[in-house]
Each structure stands twice: as C-alpha cells, then as structure tokens.
C-alpha cells in the first residue's frame, strides 16, 4: 500500500446557492498537520465534512492514498476518524461504556484495560462509573478524545477540538496531536485558538477571504 | 347531434348537477393552477431582482 496521503483536487463546495470555495488543491503527507483557518460561515466545517466523505463536493475529488475516497469508502473510514462539534458521547452511558460502543461500531474488539488506561491518562479516573450526563462539557470532550485515541486511525479530522477545554486540557490536546504526528499520523483541524506545536510541520489553509486577526 | 335545445344540453338528461359539477371543478382546478403559476412567475422575477439589487450593494 502506498504511503498515507490526503489530497484534494479542484475542490468546490456550495451551500445552498452560495459558492463557498472552488479550485482548492492541497496535499497532506504523513506526519503533517493541516490547520484550516477562516471566519465564521466561510466553509471550514463544510470542508472538513467533505474530507470525511459525509458530504460530496460540487466539483473535484478528495483522494486518500491516491484513490478517490468515494471509491474506497470503507477502507478510508477504517483509517480516518472525525470529531465534530458534537462529541458523539451518549449521556446515558458512562465513559467506559461509551468507549466500548465506539469500538464496537468501528468493528473492533474492545480492550477494557486499554480503554480505562486511556481514560485515566486523560484525567477521567474519578468518574469512570458515572453517566456522562453528570460530567462537565470539558470532561465529555475528553471522553470523545479517548475514543479518538483508541480508534488508532491514521488521519484525524478535528473540528474545533479545543472549544470548551481548559488550559490543562489544551496542553494535553497539543501533546496528543504532537505524539500522533510523530508516529506518522496526520491531522486536519480547524481552530480559533493558537496552538503551541513545536517541531511539527504545519500547513495552513485559508478558507474564504476574511482572515482572523490573531492568526494572520 | 344529441341535443335538441340548449336547456336539454345543460340538463344532461337529469344529471346536469353531477356532470357540470365534475367538469366545473376540473375547470376550476386547472384555472387555479394556471393563475397561481402566472402569479408565481411574476413574484419570482421581482424577488430575484430585488435580491440581486441587494447583493450588488
């Protein structure tokens, strides 16, 4: 199999009758981070959803390992994981159960010890047996991050992963991204906040035409 | 020709109410559809023009 690479070719995306962007081209290789930037409503989330295959582009194509993703949906989804605005965490289940079902839905056997270790690493050791309903927003986000880590996917697609996280959690997230990239993984992320990522190849992509002051 | 007079024609052998009730409602349905279509055409053009003016500003 060829080296993991994500590339888009002449991508165009429309929302309703409004064209968000067109002629977008980029390639992302192993070990690199793509930061998608742009103002609200400029199409950051739309781009991410195109990259996951949840929506299909107006024109152009998204390629994974040199092949269009629509032709290898299942193989691509096995190597890709998406974390959107919503966490995908069920309020009625506790963190461990959430991980178990997340694993089951990916078609994998759940390794309970590894799951608990991951949750502990993310600082959730005190609430493993509580339904996620009673957890804070940041804690639920961490449960979602644990699922992300356990999935073992090569490509992470993260939509505003830092929203609602405190300073410690942001540092933790930065560490996770660095480790993932060093291990040959790839990340596509949108964020409003500045990320501290030393020693990491960062590609920046501006969607739309309104730049955000602090990032420009 | 079947009809000796107009009144016989409208009477439809005693079934005038049903025959003309059917044809009348059919004609009304089609008239309403055509009227709505005509009105919608004008509305659409006006609306699109207005939106175009708005966006050009």
């Amino acid at each position: 199999m060829s080296d993991p690479s994500l590339s888009v070719h002449d991508l165009a995306c429309a929302r309703g009758d409004r064209l968000l962007f067109k002629n977008m081209n980029f390639t992302l290789n192993a070990g690199a981070l793509l930061l998608v930037q742009g103002g609200n409503g400029q199409g950051k989330t739309s781009l991410l959803r195109l990259l996951t295959g949840l929506s299909s582009p107006e024109e152009g194509e998204v390629h994974w390992r040199g092949q269009p993703i629509r032709k290898q949906r299942e193989a691509y989804h096995a190597e890709m994981i998406y974390l959107g605005h919503a966490n995908g965490v069920k309020d009625d289940l506790n963190p461990v159960e959430n991980l178990r079902f997340a694993d089951g839905l990916q078609g994998r056997e759940f390794d309970a010890a590894r799951g608990v270790a991951t949750l502990n690493k993310l600082g959730l050791s005190r609430c493993l047996d509580l339904p996620c309903r009673v957890l804070s927003f940041g804690q639920r986000r961490r449960v979602a991050l644990a699922a992300l880590l356990l999935a073992g996917a090569t490509l992470w697609i993260l939509d505003e992963p830092l929203t609602g996280l405190d300073v410690h959690a942001v540092a933790l997230m930065e560490g996770l991204i660095r480790d993932h990239l060093k291990g040959g993984g790839m990340v596509v992320a949108t964020t409003h906040q500045a990320l501290n990522l030393e020693g990491v190849t960062v590609q920046r992509l501006l969607v739309g035409n309104v730049a955000i002051p602090e990032l420009a | 020709m079947e009809w000796a007079s107009w009144s016989e024609f409208w009477n439809m052998g005693g079934y005038g109410f049903y025959v003309w009730g059917s044809y009348g409602v059919t004609a009304a349905c089609i008239a309403v559809e055509v009227y709505l279509l005509k009105r919608a055409a004008g509305d659409t053009r006006r609306r699109l023009k207005r939106m175009q003016q708005w966006e050009e500003q």
């Binding site: 959803r49 996951t52 295959g53 949840l54 929506s55 299909s56 299942e74 193989a75 989804h77 096995a78 890709m80 994981i81 998406y82 959107g84 605005h85 919503a86 966490n87 995908g88 965490v89 069920k90 309020d91 009625d92 289940l93 159960e97 079902f101 997340a102 089951g104 839905l105 990916q106 078609g107 339904p131 | -």
Partner: protein, 222 residues
C-alpha cells in the same frame, strides 16, 4: 460484519434500558388508543369483535410511529450518528440494526400487550392467536419502512408529524393484510392467504427499505 450489527443492537438496547420512560410511553399509547374506541363506538360485544382487529392494528401503527421519530434523532443530536455513518461498515447494516433494535424495543411489547386488548375487544382465542402472528410478521415492516421516514425527516422542523404523513400511506398493505388475517379467521375463510401476503411484504420491505433508508440517511447528513 455481524459484529457491527450486534454492536448497534446492543447499544440501542442498552440505551433503551437506561430510558424506560420513553419506552413505557409508547406502550401506554397503544393501550390508550385501543381503549378509546369502545368508549367512542359503544360497548356491544359483537360490534367490538367486528372492529377489534382493525382498531388494534391501527393503534399498533400509530404507537410505532410515535417512537420512530426518535430512531435517528437522538444520535443525530449528540453527534454519534455521524460517527456510526463514518464507521468502516456499510450504512445499510447500521439502518438494519437500528430498525431491528426498534422492533425489539417497541414491536415485541406490542405483541405481549395485544392479547389483553384482544380480550377487551371480545376476540376469540383463535382470533387472538392469528392477531399475534399477524403482528409478529407485520410490526417489523413498520420498523423497516419507518426507518426510511425517520431518515428522510431527520432534523427537520415538525419532523414527527411529517414522518407520519410520509409513512402512513406506505403502511396500508401491512394494515390490510394484518387486520384482514384476523377478519378472515373470524369469518371462517382462513388466514393463511393474508399471512403469506403479509410475509411476502415483510420480505420485500426487508430487501428494499434498508437501502433506501441508508441513502436517505446519507442525504440528510450531508
């Protein structure tokens, strides 16, 4: 593949077990709708036995519709639906698993309640037995076709009412064959023909509905 299906099933069953309130509402709705009819048409036993099969079948379709609007909506709301659609398994399996779970959670209890209501409606034991078989074959159809409606109306304003409008006409054959089977046995003409047609409709729904629902789900998530 079957592991994914099992995971979807176990997940939905666990979640339903954690939220028994929703589950009880659907069952009580069934009982209440069926119990309103004698109050409306009068208590004569012959009349009740005459309308009983139809009333119970209509009540069952309405009860299943009540819960169908949430088939995908809860998972859509917390984002887990996207995760499931993005899993490496086919979306058809996901829809099939969720419809099956819906049937186990909301369809099977109807089978358990129906005999009690059948007695209220003065149905003979033979008729109740056929009613059970017809519901056993018919309620999965409600869950399968309902899955299409739930996927089409996902996230829409007033989605629940719209779902009813879209799906009730599609339920007509199930209603006719299901209630007809009980009628047939009461009229002495036998229920086999109706039940085999109901079974054929079930097989057809099983073959077609999940594909359309999966396509609809992808369209709705776009």
């Amino acid at each position: 593949m079957h592991r994914f299906l099992l995971a979807v099933l176990r997940r939905d069953l666990t979640l339903a077990a954690r939220r028994r309130g929703d589950w009880l509402i659907a069952q009580f709705f069934f009982v209440m709708v069926a119990s309103l009819f004698p109050l409306g048409v009068g208590p004569e036993p012959e009349m009740l036995a005459r309308i009983g099969p139809g009333v119970l079948w209509v009540a069952a379709t309405l009860a299943s519709l009540l819960s169908l609007s949430r088939l995908f909506a809860d998972d859509h709301h917390d984002g887990s639906l996207e995760h499931m659609v993005l899993s490496p398994e086919p979306t058809v399996l996901l829809v099939l698993g969720k419809s099956l779970a819906h049937w186990l959670i909301y369809g099977i209890p109807l089978l358990l309640i129906a005999p009690v209501l059948g007695i209220q409606f003065n149905l003979s034991w033979e008729a109740i037995w056929v009613l059970e078989i017809s519901l056993l074959l018919g309620t999965p159809i409600l869950s399968l076709l309902g899955g299409v409606g739930a996927a089409l109306t996902l996230g829409l304003r007033g989605g629940g009412v719209l779902l009813t409008l879209l799906i009730l006409p599609l339920y007509v054959p199930a209603l006719i064959f299901g209630a007809g089977a009980v009628d047939g046995v009461m009229a002495g003409t036998g229920a086999e023909a109706h039940l085999s047609l109901l079974g054929a409709f079930l097989v057809l729904s099983l073959m077609i509905a999940p594909w359309i629902a999966a396509a609809a789900l992808r369209v709705s998530l776009e």
